[in-house]
């Protein structure tokens, strides 16, 4: 089966925005966490999501690779709907395998790293390319070593996650996501669980990725990173987008009162 996302024939794929959200809503029971999110993430852009905890930014991020099911509106990645297929004006839910196939192209980095503790750093990185993409173990190992080198952990290939510091674990987690050669990377507060002195190493790796033109959506509290590396920034509160624009503008000259109040606390 060929990858439909790569086929230019369907007309939507290339050229358009990487992620497009139109009125995206999400509720758990009666609680509405996302109340209609509209935004566009362009190819090659570093897109920062900021906001107080509980504002729905992580939930939105998790909707993009369908870890959470969208309950209203439209959300598409690279021109294709997330979690559904449209035929005429009817929506069909995707099967588990189809969802899994789409997730291959979207890397995700978690706040709590979520490395596989029973595998070494190298095995963590090799796992998905071999199991999911069917790469040969030899090739995958070679690329994994290169990726470890790139995140500055070439000497930690044989270490188990429990033997690594938080910052090292997070860098392995980034390498693990990159091993699938994703077209989009999602970062869910990647430095929030780290000791302050370890944050820098992780941000350096992310900065390098941005320079190479990776499309990245970053939920973060690191305003310095957002200002310096971000191409676009959205401030979310209570399930809605309050303010958006270029990071430097929003962070230095916020228009909205809620944005001002939030920034005065974190900056």
């Amino acid at each position: 089966m060929t990858d439909p996302t790569k086929a230019p024939a369907d007309g939507v794929g290339n050229g358009g925005p990487m992620v497009r959200a139109e009125g995206v809503r999400k509720s758990y029971g009666l609680v509405e966490v996302l109340k209609g999110i509209d935004l566009e993430v362009q190819q090659g852009e570093v897109f920062c999501l900021i906001g107080p905890s509980g504002s729905g930014k992580s939930t939105f991020l998790r909707c993009i690779n369908h870890l959470e099911k969208v309950s209203g509106g439209r959300l598409s990645v690279d021109g294709e709907l997330v979690g559904y297929r449209q035929k005429g004006d009817k929506l069909y839910e995707l099967r588990d395998q189809e969802v899994a196939r789409k997730r291959r192209d979207i890397g995700m980095v978690f706040q709590r790293f979520n490395l596989f503790p029973h595998m070494t750093a190298l095995e963590n990185i090799v796992e998905a390319p071999v199991q999911v993409r069917g790469e040969s173990r030899g090739d995958a190992r070679e690329r994994a070593r290169a990726l470890l080198e790139r995140v500055g952990l070439a000497d930690k290939a044989a270490s188990y996650p429990s033997q690594l510091s938080g910052g090292q674990q997070q860098r392995v987690a980034i390498a693990r996501a990159l091993a699938m050669q994703p077209k989009l990377m999602l970062f869910d507060e990647p430095t929030s669980a780290l000791d302050p002195e370890l944050v820098g190493d992780v941000l350096d790796v992310m900065r390098g990725l941005a320079e190479e033109g990776m499309t990245m959506i970053v939920v973060t509290h690191e305003m310095g990173f957002a200002r310096e590396v971000g191409d676009a920034l959205v401030f979310m509160d209570d399930g809605v987008v309050v303010e958006s624009g270029h990071p430097r503008e929003v962070l230095t000259n916020p228009q909205h009162d809620r944005t001002k109040a939030f920034l005065s606390k974190v900056l």
């Binding site: 870890l67 979207i106 995700m108 709590r112 596989f116 029973h118 998905a128 999911v132 000497d155 044989a158």
Partner: protein, 323 residues
């Protein structure tokens, strides 16, 4: 960590404390009581003629006893295998989002855990009374193949079904507990990498669940080894039945029960050692340093190398070279 742990104090540091340790007179009293009781027990074992140790020695390696051990081991291994495979299937079924699968698993566990294994054993043995022939064919229609139940299910198979199907119900709960003990972030990380549900379960969740599953499974295996003695009620000649058969002829009940007990004790001891190493294997990654094996501890006790003191602790700085 510290290079100077040998007692000599470098100049300028406060001297090492030399204090009189706390005395424990209670331990001495307790020790003496235990020693006396042990001596009494040993005396009884040696000098009570009913034990007939020469008879024990004579039957310890007797042919039918050895054959019984073989049957016991075979039955233990096969029924645990059945229990483990069935348990994993049932556990995955119970956790499945499909309501049909999960309630089927629940029903199975309810029935097989809710009735005594002894009753189940006898039940399987009497299956021939319920259906005289078993056949494969169209439900309620013609049969393509059929066979007498008693030929299809000889005593050994009845014993295996009784023990294995019962064990599956217990193993299902153990496996389910193990699966649920794995952090949800693991599933999310695997899914985010594009792994399917089945592959996530097999490659990511189950290997981690093993750490929680192995210890109770070891207990189950040891318990199963002893539970196999129940199949003597359907006249399958395993270890206990072999002993019974002998003493029903020569009336040397006590010596033969001792023979049987010695063998059970021997086999469970071996299993305990195996369980220890299995647990150690599945603990990799969860502890920074694996605990030393008893052998390593023993060696550390006699060979006093400075490296042996903090046993095999991997200094975090050099975790690399053991690929």
């Amino acid at each position: 960590m510290n290079p100077s742990d040998k007692g000599e104090v470098p100049a300028g540091r406060p001297e090492t404390i030399k204090a009189v340790p706390v005395r424990h007179p209670g331990r001495w009293v307790g020790g003496i009581v235990v020693a006396v009781l042990a001596a009494m027990l040993l005396h009884a074992l040696i000098f009570n003629p009913v034990f007939e140790w020469d008879v024990v020695r004579k039957y310890l390696f007797q042919q039918s006893i050895l054959h019984g051990i073989g049957v016991t081991l075979e039955l233990t291994a096969l029924s645990m295998l059945m229990g483990a495979v069935g348990g994993v299937i049932l556990a995955v079924m119970r956790l499945s989002p499909n309501p049909l699968l999960s309630s089927a698993a629940w029903l199975y566990i309810w029935v097989f855990r809710g009735t005594p294994v002894l009753v189940q054993l006898v039940f399987w043995n009497f299956l021939g009374l319920l259906w005289q022939r078993l056949s494969i064919g169209i439900p309620f229609g013609p049969a393509f193949w059929s066979e007498s139940t008693n030929t299809l299910i000889p005593t050994f198979v009845a014993a295996l079904l009784g023990l294995g199907l019962n064990e599956a119900a217990y193993m299902a709960e153990i496996v389910r507990g193990g699966i649920q003990s794995v952090d949800e972030g693991q599933t999310e990380a695997a899914h985010a990498l594009g792994m399917s549900r089945a592959r996530t379960m097999r490659r990511i969740i189950l290997p981690q669940a093993m750490r929680v599953i192995i210890p109770p499974t070891g207990n189950e295996t040891i318990s199963m080894l002893k539970t196999t003695s129940l199949v003597s009620v359907i006249a399958l000649e395993e270890l206990f039945q072999a002993g019974q058969n002998i003493y029903s002829h020569n009336f040397k009940n006590i010596p033969l029960l001792i023979v049987v007990s010695i063998w059970y004790l021997f086999m469970t001891s071996i299993l305990t050692v195996g369980q220890y190493y299995l647990e150690r294997y599945f603990a990799r990654g969860s502890n920074r340093a694996l605990p030393a094996t008893p052998l390593q501890k023993l060696r550390a006790l006699f060979v006093r190398t400075p490296a042996a003191a903090p046993t095999a602790a991997l200094p975090p700085a050099e975790g690399a070279p053991h690929d």
